[in-house]
């Protein structure tokens, strides 16, 4: 079976708070530390989900990404984990797209690659935290949409997803083709293997540019007239409670909270 994983390169969310700066012109957050981007965490979970299917079935995994200024080491990580192909849809036109345009570009790219049996996406990208692209993509492709998976099982033409819900889970079922979004509850993504790293270094990604796609992104732009970014102030005057040692600090804290009527 054919699986497409949608993955995105993002600013490392572990960048210390003080490392974030706003680029007013591109309306983007950047790191002033110059640390490299990473693969979106949930997309690593998506790659892991695809690999588990490949472990048990005969499957070919193609990773697709829309963006600009790709860092090859970052984008090849899924290959070193065991994915088969990488398609990069790149160019300045794809910088900082809104969710509808991103979904539209993915839709056009996936049609060119060939419609797969299964598409796996992350539940959200840690840049704009939109959690929308996969759902819109499913609408565009008219694929069955199964979200927030912590487990996927396939049987002939049927897919079952264990979906995370508050205080429990659901079992969802549909036919293929389908699109699934995965959550971190799926479990840790595997580490790249030595063999994987070797084959990633030899593998060239297939590159699409704007002109290769039959897409007019301007027309699809959603109707937000303007977006402004700011960095929120996070400064409470924290009162530190300090005793002669940690034990006394603990006791004094309890007394303080009692005094304030908080406990």
């Amino acid at each position: 079976m054919n699986i497409i994983v949608c993955a995105k390169q993002v600013l490392d969310p572990e960048t210390p708070v003080s490392g974030f700066v706003i680029n007013e012109e591109s309306v983007l957050i950047e790191s002033r530390l110059g640390n490299p981007p990473v693969l979106n965490g949930f997309d690593e979970n998506a790659v892991e989900a695809a690999l588990r299917i490949k472990d048990a079935n005969n499957a070919e995994i193609t990773v697709v990404s829309i963006g600009n200024n790709f860092v090859m080491d970052v984008m090849k990580k899924p290959i070193s984990m065991g994915a088969d192909n990488l398609v990069l849809v790149q160019g300045p036109e794809f910088e900082n797209l809104d969710p509808i345009s991103t979904a539209r570009a993915l839709y056009e790219s996936i049609k060119q690659i060939g419609l797969p049996d299964l598409i796996i996406c992350g539940r959200q990208a840690s840049d704009w935290d939109n959690s929308q692209v996969p759902l819109i993509l499913a609408e565009l492709l008219d694929y069955n949409c199964l979200t927030l998976a912590q487990g996927i099982t396939l049987e002939a033409n049927t897919i079952k997803v264990e979906r995370v819900i508050p205080d429990g889970y659901q079992i969802l079922e549909s036919s293929l083709p389908a699109l699934v979004t995965v959550s971190n509850e799926l479990g840790e993504p595997r580490y790249p293997t030595l063999r994987g790293i070797m084959s990633a270094s030899k593998k060239d990604p297939q590159i699409f540019s704007y002109n290769d796609l039959d897409v007019n992104l301007d027309q699809d732009k959603n109707s937000f007239t303007e977006t402004k970014l700011s960095i929120p102030e996070r400064e409470q005057d924290c009162e530190f409670i300090q005793g002669v040692d940690d034990e006394e600090s603990g006791r004094l804290l309890a007394m303080k909270l009692r005094e304030d009527g908080l406990i």
């Binding site: 969310p13 708070v17 974030f20 706003i22 957050i29 969710p99 509808i100 539940r123 840690s126 840049d127 704009w128 935290d129 929308q132 759902l135 819109i136 499913a138 927030l148 995370v164 819900i165 508050p166 205080d167 429990g168 889970y169 659901q170 079992i171 969802l172 079922e173 549909s174 036919s175 389908a178 971190n184 509850e185 959603n222 109707s223 007239t225 977006t227 402004k228 970014l229 700011s230 960095i231 929120p232 996070r234 409470q236 924290c238 009162e239 530190f240 409670i241 300090q242 040692d245 940690d246 034990e247 603990g250 006791r251 804290l253 309890a254 909270l257 009692r258 304030d260 908080l262 406990i263």
Partner: protein, 327 residues
């Protein structure tokens, strides 16, 4: 004349603070406000809402073949139909694990602009201005949507003031039967399994005791549970602690976990990453214990102790037990 509809999450049977907050927000934004509920099972559900401050309640009656927990496809199709039938300008839904699956597809189908996880929404000139945290809360985006565009927005729980108390007038309940086609149902729910953890409900608790990676293992969470029992609170955790398997993911607080709004949020060994704070910054008093005096969480805390939880926690619990038992 603009029409705002507040969608009540399916299976959500109570009028809580969050419901009142989002209703007040709706009333501040448009001329006409509706509440929309689903009636797969409970025919009396609408009675609970009838003294709220709105123009009408629409009860969407869905065929019982779809069960009591409605599949996303059915919810989306019925709301798509409703928006067209009633000319809705703005849909408001509390952001939750449920609305996450519904709102983007509904917006797409109705060619509406979608604002996700807003912490502020107001009218500015002719536009709707929404503020939403992005980059895990490290930045805020302000977006502006023209008046004549249909809109869908999800609102973070706990946002907004409750501006009006319940009214005495009885709000009319209008039953509607949305048009749903057999082919709309594509993904079935075979089973729903939920088990509420012991103790008070995390999302409603007045005191939350939360632990993070700094606790180093599953055993310390037993100590947090003990403290929670002493204080009558609920236990929560950071994603790092949940991913490590020290505590179940149901206890995760944050951007992709639960949102809590307690009076007191007591954190032990949590660094205060913005994605974690996204789930607890609505707490009235954050109190933090962390061995690193530069930990970010102190920037959001009212009180802090720089120290080792191994020592601070037992001393705090013992003292709290005495103080709480005094009267």
């Amino acid at each position: 004349m603009s029409h705002t509809a507040v969608i009540i999450e399916q299976g959500h049977h109570n009028v809580d603070e969050t419901t009142q907050q989002i209703l007040s927000l709706a009333n501040s934004l448009g001329d006409e406000t509706s509440i929309v509920i689903f009636q797969p099972d409970n025919a009396n559900l609408s009675e609970k809402f009838t003294n709220l401050n709105c123009d009408q309640i629409y009860a969407l009656k869905i065929d019982s073949v779809h069960g009591t927990t409605l599949p996303d496809d059915i919810v989306i199709s019925s709301l798509e139909w409703f928006c067209k039938d009633k000319n809705v300008d703005l849909i408001l839904i509390t952001k939750s694990a449920w609305s996450l699956n519904i709102a983007p597809r509904l917006a797409f189908r109705n060619k509406a602009a979608y604002a996700h996880d807003c912490i502020d929404i107001k009218i500015q000139g002719n536009n709707l201005s929404c503020v939403r945290p992005v980059y895990g809360g490290n930045a805020l985006a302000q977006i502006s949507i023209p008046a004549d565009t249909p809109k869908v927005a999800t609102v973070r729980a706990g946002v907004g003031q409750i501006s009006e108390k319940v009214s005495n007038k009885i709000v009319p309940v209008i039953e509607l039967e949305p048009e749903i086609k057999a082919k709309d149902l594509r993904v079935k729910i075979l089973k729903t399994v939920t088990e509420a953890p012991e103790g008070p409900d995390l999302s409603k608790a007045e005191i939350v005791v939360a632990g993070g990676r700094g606790l180093g293992g599953p055993e310390p969470f037993e100590k947090l549970r003990e403290l929670a029992r002493v204080l009558g609170g609920a236990v929560g955790a950071s994603r790092a602690a949940c991913d490590a398997g020290w505590i179940d993911h149901n206890f995760q607080i944050g951007l992709t976990g639960k949102t809590v709004t307690p009076n007191v949020y007591l954190s032990f060994g949590i660094s205060g990453a913005s994605q974690h704070m996204a789930g607890c910054s609505g707490s009235r008093n954050i109190v933090s214990i962390n061995s690193d005096k530069n930990a970010n969480i102190f920037k959001d805390s009212k009180y802090g102790v720089v120290g080792d939880w191994n020592i601070v926690l037992p001393a705090f619990t013992a003292a709290a037990r005495e103080l709480v038992n005094e009267n």
